[in-house]
């Protein structure tokens, strides 16, 4: 089932499993899902004790949005590890040549093809995206929003910048590497620093909870934005040459 993985371009597309096996697999999964459905319906809806617990502790969490309270206070450890997951992926897809660490993070290029409409549009759009991202980050304390939404939006700005062709990013630069880890580093630092006041890692003093969460989120936003742009850069590939040539031939008969 996992022994023959076929990739897109291979001409000899390996056949999927034999029909008999497929049928058996489908039957087994259908039976399992049916059992699960029956069990779930039989159990019915449940009142969770955590609903009241979250509501009653919301005031102590430093934020008004219960989801943010869970993510960055009650279960902040999960979020810390989640930032570590993002760092792993960033490292895994990072371009391998480390000799470039002397090259600057953002370098200005002369684009091969200029699109004046896109450039003019970006002049308006980019500042607006940055401001909106800041707003999303700030509003996360009370309404849906927060570091991931803000980071994703900011990454969008970075990708647009990249597509305009005037800039290129080098993620092996020291500044870029700092951006990649700043989220995790600030999270760890805050988590460790609060031990001085409360004696327990990640237990914010109540009066400071709101501001500490904001600090963590700002750092996380930067890291998330950087990592998402890095992912875009790493996955950006030229169209398969064969098709590309075919396209050109078709265009110029």
């Amino acid at each position: 089932m996992f022994n023959n993985l076929t990739l897109g371009r291979s001409a000899q597309h390996k056949a999927d499993l034999p029909v008999g096996v497929l049928f058996m697999v489908a039957l087994a999964i259908a039976a399992a899902c049916l059992f699960l459905t029956m069990a779930l319906i039989d159990f019915g809806p449940a009142e969770q004790p955590l609903v009241t617990l979250v509501a009653s502790h919301l005031e102590q969490s430093g934020v008004e949005n219960p989801v943010t309270a869970v993510l960055l206070n009650f279960r902040s450890y999960d979020t810390l590890l989640e930032v570590a997951v993002l760092l792993i992926v960033a490292l895994a897809v990072m371009p391998a040549n480390s000799e470039q660490s002397k090259v600057r993070f953002i370098s200005v290029l002369v684009p091969t093809e200029r699109s004046f409409v896109l450039e003019a549009f970006l002049r308006w759009l980019l500042p607006a995206i940055v401001v909106t991202s800041g707003y999303l980050l700030w509003t996360g304390a009370a309404l849906p929003g927060g570091a991931f939404q803000a980071g994703a939006l900011l990454a969008g700005a970075g990708i647009l910048l990249l597509l305009a062709g005037h800039h290129s990013f080098n993620f092996n630069a020291s500044a870029a590497r700092l951006l990649l880890v700043v989220g995790l580093a600030v999270f760890l630092l805050v988590g460790a620093a609060v031990i001085l006041s409360s004696g327990i890692a990640l237990a914010y003093p109540q009066a400071w909870a709101g501001i500490l969460i904001l600090v963590i989120e700002v750092a996380a936003t930067l890291t998330i934005a950087a990592i998402l742009v890095l992912l875009f850069c790493a996955l950006q590939v030229e169209a398969p040459r064969a098709n590309y040539e075919g396209l050109i031939k078709e265009e110029r008969p």
């Binding site: 076929t6 371009r9 809806p45 449940a46 969770q48 897809v93």
Partner: protein, 95 residues
């Protein structure tokens, strides 16, 4: 059957469909899509169960947000591997 229950059941169906796709299809990109469908099914079960009580439960919301980020991370990593393998294959063909 309540509305929440209906969502949960469809979550399980999506999980099953994704699972079947991940096992049955040989093509990597489709396999990856199937795994993502599978994940969406799991998230739907989480959310549907969270709303089955009188008041909404926020803990599963937070868990699903974490889960989505992890799923994005996994998908990105798989795609980057596919791209690298593809590049190597192309080089082999050229050579």
């Amino acid at each position: 059957m309540t509305q929440a229950m209906l969502y949960a059941v469809f979550g399980i169906v999506l999980f099953g469909v994704g699972l079947f796709g991940a096992l049955a299809i040989a093509h990597v990109m489709k396999k990856l899509l199937a795994i993502n469908i599978c994940g969406v099914g799991v998230f739907m079960v989480f959310i549907a169960n969270a709303s089955s009580g009188v008041a909404a439960d926020y803990v599963p919301h937070a868990m699903v947000l974490t889960g989505i980020v992890v799923a994005v991370a996994g998908t990105a990593m798989a795609l980057s591997l596919v791209v690298r393998i593809n590049t190597l294959e192309q080089q082999e063909e050229d050579a």
